[in-house]
């Protein structure tokens, strides 16, 4: 395989390859997939943990009510589930470390999917989404960077790691991920009970006793009074639907992508606080990394001191910036200057905001103040 830089992307309009062939033939950075791979490792372990505990107690899916997905196939024996669970956990650890990633990631995917398809009881929408993510990571060559594989290649004298590889798994995952937001949003939009607020209101009324377990008094009483009001849900339900649809569409356009990612983080935080969705929130927020432009260090940051450069490098998990130290930058307000990928230069506070808005840990706080640019 040979590769070169990703073709220039249209920054403000639709973010898509120029042709169908470009999906497969134009390489780019798979760093986002590597970050996703690392986050998915603990997610998979947490997901499999209850099953693993059951295997330690000698309990398998066959010991209780189960419903096969495919009735024409014989049911897998209990030992097969034990093997899937334990191999899946070991595979996830190896996948997270990037140790024999080309084997570990597909193996983990097969184990998680295999356990999932043992019984319809194992179905959850969030688990199906997790399998999408795992399949995409398994298909991508994410072990090229941020992995023990990359470290081993470097120590073997192969040279510095190259993070460019085929991007079709990334494009596939982008389509799948946005389709999940759209499917969820549209199904609620066309359901008058949902869009009109009845579903959320009734849910809030019946689960109001849970507020006291999550919110201290006297605020709990005030919260219960508020969330059991019918009109509140007549307002918030259409907003929730609009959020999902806007995320699913907005992620595809340069002009709205940053806002869509921010809304998606807010959306998943609100779900995590109000519902039990297992590992979905962490997996879904991590998956937002795939919307970063698949090129690395194509913005240059010039800072005045090593300490600031070190902080940016440590937090720049998606390698957005080529960080350079120039004592002359001390003359700049805030001691920072950014040369953006479109050739423009940002100074002072604006430059600092740009940097912070592209670092995953500070993105959510800073992005709104950066006017979504």
């Amino acid at each position: 395989m040979t590769a070169q830089d990703t073709a220039p992307l249209r920054r403000r309009g639709l973010i898509a390859p120029h042709t169908f062939e470009d999906v497969f033939d134009v390489p780019g950075s798979i760093r986002a997939m590597a970050v996703l791979r690392i986050v998915l490792a603990p997610v998979v372990v947490v997901h499999l943990w209850p099953f693993l505990v059951d295997t330690l107690d000698g309990v398998s899916y066959l010991d209780h009510f189960n419903e096969p997905w495919f009735t024409f196939l014989p049911q897998a024996p209990a030992g097969a589930q034990v093997a899937l669970i334990w191999t899946g956990v070991a595979g996830a650890v190896a996948m997270g470390l990037g140790w024999h990633t080309r084997l570990a990631a597909p193996l983990t995917t097969v184990c998680v999917a295999g356990n999932f398809f043992l019984s319809q009881r194992h179905f959850r929408h969030n688990r199906a989404f997790l399998i999408f993510l795992l399949v995409a990571v398994a298909l991508s060559d994410s072990g090229r960077i941020l992995s023990l594989d990359a470290r081993r290649r470097r120590s073997d004298g192969v040279g510095p790691p190259d993070d460019r590889a085929t991007l079709w798994p990334l494009w596939l995952l982008r389509i799948m991920a946005s389709s999940v937001y759209l499917a969820s949003g549209i199904s609620k939009l066309i359901d008058p009970d949902w869009a009109g607020g009845l579903v959320l209101w009734d849910r809030a009324v019946r689960h109001q006793h849970l507020v006291a377990t999550r919110v201290p008094e006297p605020i709990a009483g005030w919260v219960v009074d508020l969330v059991t009001q019918r009109w509140v849900h007549a307002v918030t339900s259409p907003l929730a639907v609009a959020m999902e649809v806007c995320i699913g569409v907005g992620l595809w356009f340069g002009r709205t992508r940053i806002a869509a990612v921010w809304v998606a983080v807010l959306f998943h935080l609100s779900i995590e606080l109000s519902a039990s969705v297992e590992v979905f929130s962490l997996a879904a927020v991590a998956a937002l990394a795939i919307w970063a432009t698949p090129s690395t260090r194509d913005r240059r940051v010039v800072v005045s001191d090593d300490a600031m450069a070190g902080r940016i490098r440590r937090l720049d998990w998606l390698a957005r910036f080529d960080v350079r130290v120039d004592p002359g930058a001390a003359a700049e307000p805030h001691g920072v200057e950014v040369h953006d990928r479109d050739g423009s230069t940002l100074h002072g506070r604006e430059a600092l905001q740009m940097v912070r808005s592209r670092l995953p840990l500070t993105f959510f706080i800073v992005a709104p103040r950066n006017r979504w640019r």
Binding site: M1, T2, H125, L172, A183
Partner: protein
């Protein structure tokens, strides 16, 4: 990385990758559309779709026509059979209590129907029960009641 600018694959591999890509997208589209006709909305990504509730009175109907609630003694050689232990899943445990319909009313009742069959098929020491029957009362998004009778398969052991 040095190279010619594009990823080079053999012809068959290039076709395979493209075919896989298109097949996955087609499958995803079909699954999402099909989910509207599926009580479980499998792979339709319609979480929190309803705020429905249900409860059920489940009885064992014996060969002589008696209707015995499942919380009364259940014949077995070893440990006493217990509905909640047998199903081992909160979605269909404690059917006598009004509970949230997991994944919607149709999905919950479909699982209850399958659970009746499973329990009927996994209580070999019970030689008196012909079938299990559930009188279900459901409320779909506060509307109802929606009353149904679900019945397990007939059991060979009681014939």
């Amino acid at each position: 990385m040095e190279g010619t600018g594009t990823i080079v694959r053999t012809r068959w591999r290039a076709r395979l990758v493209r075919a896989f890509f298109v097949a996955v997208l087609l499958a995803q589209s079909v699954l999402i559309l099909r989910s509207y006709d599926d009580p479980h909305n499998f792979f339709g990504f319609q979480p929190f779709n309803e705020s429905s509730t249900w409860r059920a009175d489940i009885v064992r109907v014996t060969a002589d026509g008696s209707r015995i609630p499942i919380d009364e003694p259940w014949p077995s050689d070893g440990d006493r059979y217990d509905w909640n232990d047998l199903v081992g899943w909160r979605v269909v445990q404690h059917p006598e209590r009004t509970k949230h319909a997991y994944s919607g009313l149709d999905a919950s009742l479909d699982f209850l129907d399958e659970a009746l069959d499973w329990v009927a098929d996994h209580t070999p020491d019970d030689t008196e029960t012909r079938y299990l029957e559930a009188d279900v009362t459901g409320f779909r998004n506060t509307r109802g009641p929606d009353e149904r009778v679900l019945r397990s398969d007939e059991r060979e052991e009681a014939r």
